[in-house]
């Protein structure tokens, strides 16, 4: 791998940019690997990267049905934050956020992490109490957040109308080191770093079955033939249930559509990320100038990557009151992703009933922010065969034991 640097740009500028290599190789699969990871989205690639970086395991293949980062990694609103109430959530999301801070340097690939600050608006008295509690919890967890006044909200985001009438802004939970990153670059950066370590990234290769012997996995049947492995990682988000079904176990997961949309590009007007959970809308401005807007999920199982129009209508209707200038904007594009929702709205990073088979799923509506932390925890689980401190609480058996990490109650909404 040739390193990217200012000198590389200067060198290539002098020879008509003829010397750039492909960022990652596209090899044909070998007969077997130590580790096969199904799903080359952010979480799968991050898992492979930290397997190599932290544990020296590089005989790894990451196989992908479509193209790299073409699922939810390419379909989210790129928000990064770690202001969670429950300790296990705060730990893994804060790990991820702190890894994002230096990810561009680690990967030698600009992921454009922009810690511009994330504010979660409190628009009811119930939310004020909830976010005060979260701010106190975050202080104990070592996550830097604070509860700020409506005046401070207005200073940070002048385009906001804080006076209501229906949804007045009563304060906000402010995480100054939250922000956004370039979603494609995260997938591409990890893929390039994995490829440089000698791992195989195999795109257009769909898993058709999981082969096992004596209760332990031996490999996967794919559209490119059988690929053997000692350990299998399933990191496929919306289609987790389908791959788990091939491996012979069921998951407490349901797949629903979550939509996002962007406006036409406009001049810079908002340099923070704003989330409004009462009305369930969130917004930031991209580097291109588009307002990137996300809303709530549909309420029914759906694999079509498109959602219901009325959810978009509800999101925009509510956001227009808080951001009156939105009413003058045209919306350019709208899309949907298939998110895997668990019963307690927290992820699963766990061993499975099948030996040497591990699963990382259930990130629901908030997976992008967790990519580095999720990969870190999953790599530790797969390398050692036992979960480390970050993954321990996110096991598949917590539903039977009643040990939920109940962010659905903590947040009041899907998050």
């Amino acid at each position: 791998m040739k390193r990217y640097s200012v000198f590389a740009i200067a060198r290539e500028a002098l020879r008509h940019h003829s010397g750039w290599d492909r960022a990652w190789a596209s090899p044909e699969p070998r007969a077997s690997y130590d580790v096969v990871i199904v799903g080359a989205g952010g979480h799968g690639l991050a898992t492979a990267y930290y397997l190599g970086k932290n544990f020296g395991i590089t005989n790894v293949a990451v196989i992908e049905k479509g193209w790299l980062g073409g699922g939810n990694t390419g379909r989210n609103t790129t928000i990064i934050r770690s202001n969670y109430l429950q300790d296990p959530s705060a730990a893994i999301y804060e790990k991820a956020r702190s890894l994002y801070e230096t990810l561009s340097q680690d990967l030698n690939y600009n992921v454009m992490f922009s810690p511009r600050g994330v504010m979660m608006l409190a628009q009811t008295h119930h939310e004020v109490r909830g976010y005060l509690r979260t701010a106190h919890a975050n202080a104990l967890q070592g996550v830097a957040t604070e509860f700020i006044t409506p005046q401070r909200v207005k200073e940070l985001c002048p385009i906001m109308n804080i006076d209501g009438p229906r949804y007045p802004v009563l304060g906000a939970l402010w995480q100054p080191r939250g922000g956004t990153a370039r979603h494609d670059a995260v997938a591409w950066g990890y893929a390039r770093a994995c490829s440089a370590m000698g791992m195989h990234i195999i795109q257009q290769c769909e898993v058709k079955g999981v082969r096992s012997e004596g209760g332990a996995v031996t490999g996967v049947e794919t559209t490119k033939g059988f690929i053997g492995c000692n350990k299998l990682g399933i990191v496929v988000a919306g289609h987790s249930g389908q791959v788990a079904d091939m491996a012979g176990f069921r998951l407490p997961v349901e797949a629903v559509a979550l939509q996002a949309l962007v406006s036409e590009p406009i001049k810079p007007c908002m340099d923070v990320v704003v989330m409004a959970n009462t009305v369930h809308g969130y917004m930031s401005q991209s580097d291109k100038g588009e307002m990137v807007i996300g809303g709530g999920t549909d309420g029914f199982n759906n694999f079509t990557q498109r959602g219901s129009f009325h959810h978009i209508e509800e999101t925009l209707r509510a956001l227009v009151e808080t951001f009156p200038m939105l009413s003058r904007l045209k919306m350019l594009r709208q899309w949907g992703g298939i998110v895997d929702m668990t019963g307690d709205r927290s992820p699963i990073i766990s061993k499975t009933p099948l030996g040497n088979c591990f699963i990382n799923c259930g990130w629901g509506t908030g997976g992008f922010k967790a990519i580095p932390g999720s990969g870190w925890a999953m790599a530790e689980l797969m390398a050692k065969g036992e979960p480390g401190p970050l993954a321990r609480d996110f096991n598949l058996w917590r539903f039977r034991e009643g040990q939920f990490i109940d962010e659905s109650v903590a947040a009041g909404v899907a998050h």
């Binding site: 249930g241 759906n302 129009f309």
Partner: protein, 105 residues
């Protein structure tokens, strides 16, 4: 936009009038059941990519619960039927097989 016909009042309603209730025909387990049975009833879901049986409520209409057979991969609706059934009626199964010959119940 998803449209379903409520078998209780006969009104064909679109989804803003309906409230989804997730998987239908779950067998309930309560006191006296094993942990695994209770977990399976509470949390494990079929979540199929394809034919799915679901509970719906005609929330802004007659208010009654009913069941629907729907394809989660195409959003095609095969039919709706009353909630007072423990398994899909033959007419619904025939409608599904007519459209999905490979489908296995």
């Amino acid at each position: 936009m998803l449209t379903l016909t409520c078998p209780c009042c006969g009104v064909t309603a679109e989804e803003t009038e309906l409230a989804p209730g997730y998987e239908a025909h779950l067998k309930r387990f309560g006191p006296g059941s094993t942990d695994a049975e209770f977990e399976s009833y509470m949390f494990a879901r079929k979540n199929p990519k394809g034919v799915h049986f679901e509970r719906w409520r005609h929330a802004y209409g007659c208010g009654k619960w009913f069941l629907a057979a729907r394809c989660t991969a195409t959003l095609e609706v095969f039919g709706t039927y009353p909630a007072q059934t423990t398994e899909p009626p033959a007419a619904i199964l025939d409608a599904i097989r007519a459209r999905r010959p490979d489908w296995k119940a």
